[in-house]
Symmetry: C2
Subunit: 283 residues, 2 copies
Amino acid sequence: MANKRNRTLVIIGGREDKLGEKVILREIAQRIGAGKLVVATVATRHPHEMYEEYEHVFRRLGVHHIAWLDIERRADAMSDRSIKVMEDATAIFFTGGDQLRITSQLGDTPVFHRVVEIYEHGGLVAGTSAGASVMGETMLISGSGNESHRIGENLGMAPGLGLIGCVVIDQHFAERGRMGRLLGSIAQNPKNIGIGIDEGTAIVIEGGRQLYVLGSGAVYIIDGSGVTESNIADGKEGSTLSIYDLKLHVLSQGDKFDLQKRRPGLVSTAEAIHVEQTNGLEH
Amino acid sequence: MANKRNRTLVIIGGREDKLGEKVILREIAQRIGAGKLVVATVATRHPHEMYEEYEHVFRRLGVHHIAWLDIERRADAMSDRSIKVMEDATAIFFTGGDQLRITSQLGDTPVFHRVVEIYEHGGLVAGTSAGASVMGETMLISGSGNESHRIGENLGMAPGLGLIGCVVIDQHFAERGRMGRLLGSIAQNPKNIGIGIDEGTAIVIEGGRQLYVLGSGAVYIIDGSGVTESNIADGKEGSTLSIYDLKLHVLSQGDKFDLQKRRPGLVSTAEAIHVEQTNGLEH
């Protein structure tokens, strides 16, 4: 269990299926098995309703040990009560809401250090929507949809939880037309890989490196390592972003991506069986 | 004048500025000079209002010879009256509306052949919105915005006017979240370069090869020539598009793109002076 290579992130683009096949939540449930899941509602202003909803779905999917991490202010993330909730946890699920609520209330608290510990010891950390954005070292917190990025405008970045390095994650991706803002964030520092996740779609990252796509939508991978020119630093304020030689991969369920090699690929039969077994599509 | 290398297309992503600096329409006007402009309202169901609007703007920008090509049915595109309107024309401007109205009413008519002749003899053909889409050999006619492309769904293609080969043009690009549908059309045949043009933005293509960006938004160039894998032909109906190794360039005013070499670049000082002179930014 205490195997760093087993550590898993499940990063969901929002609006994951909770009523139908539940491909994504089923995958999470099967990976948790007999372990203990903590549902963290820190991002939302409706923590009670949201906890009840996920508690219900995960219980139906066979997770028996579920606890509620109800953090409404930063002091809650330092309380004995919260530490106790985290005890023996093997998995954390961050709900949607506002990503700044997650990082501002958890950053450097005992609860946060426990999240990292669980993850580093082979546990699972999942998050949807705001809970997805916080996974990277830097996260998008604002920026208009359906708009090309303009120099000096409309893009807010903030430090995330940092569970996965060198990526910037965006969610509700195609649905909210967020290509422009993700391109803006990658132009800022092309060392990061831009990952845009559609609603109803997730990436599973195993061992901090191998990424699999699950769900009904697409995942857009923007690799800026070959960028030859951009006006992000010197462009006139208000002019639109110009950037040459990005690599773009569009992935869907059945695809994987190696974050180290920056290469996409088809999930092999052996891996596919694993995925199908764990997400229950065999039933 | 009768020089094929001078032939020019001005392809606008819709909603070009008609009240402010008018960078795009000014460029068109200055290229027309003392020539004769025909405004073709075939795409729209409000031809009269639309002609009056463009007639007014172009006249203020110094174009003195302006004629109205008012085609409401295919027979109009074969009439002596229309042929007469086209006489001595050196430039055509296609307004917005429905691109299928343009191609279904003009395709293989005397008016269409005259458009080609004007263009091939060093003339200018411009179009906005629907009038932009028709420029390529194949054009997008339907496909949802803010959605990833799904195999076998929501993408309508039709034969365009074919004034420029090996491109698929989409308009209102960032504003309507059309990355998904343009990617779908490029996946169908990666020989084509996908060109997504924002509102208020245009590409000027000189000699069928060299492309310049004008206006306030961005132009997205999708080059599929390096694509290594895609599920467009064999993917399950309804699953989202998967495609690896696209090249993406985002261009703004000051950028150019060589359609033959498929390479972007900055507009040089010499070229920039030309653009500034012709679009009147020096005043």
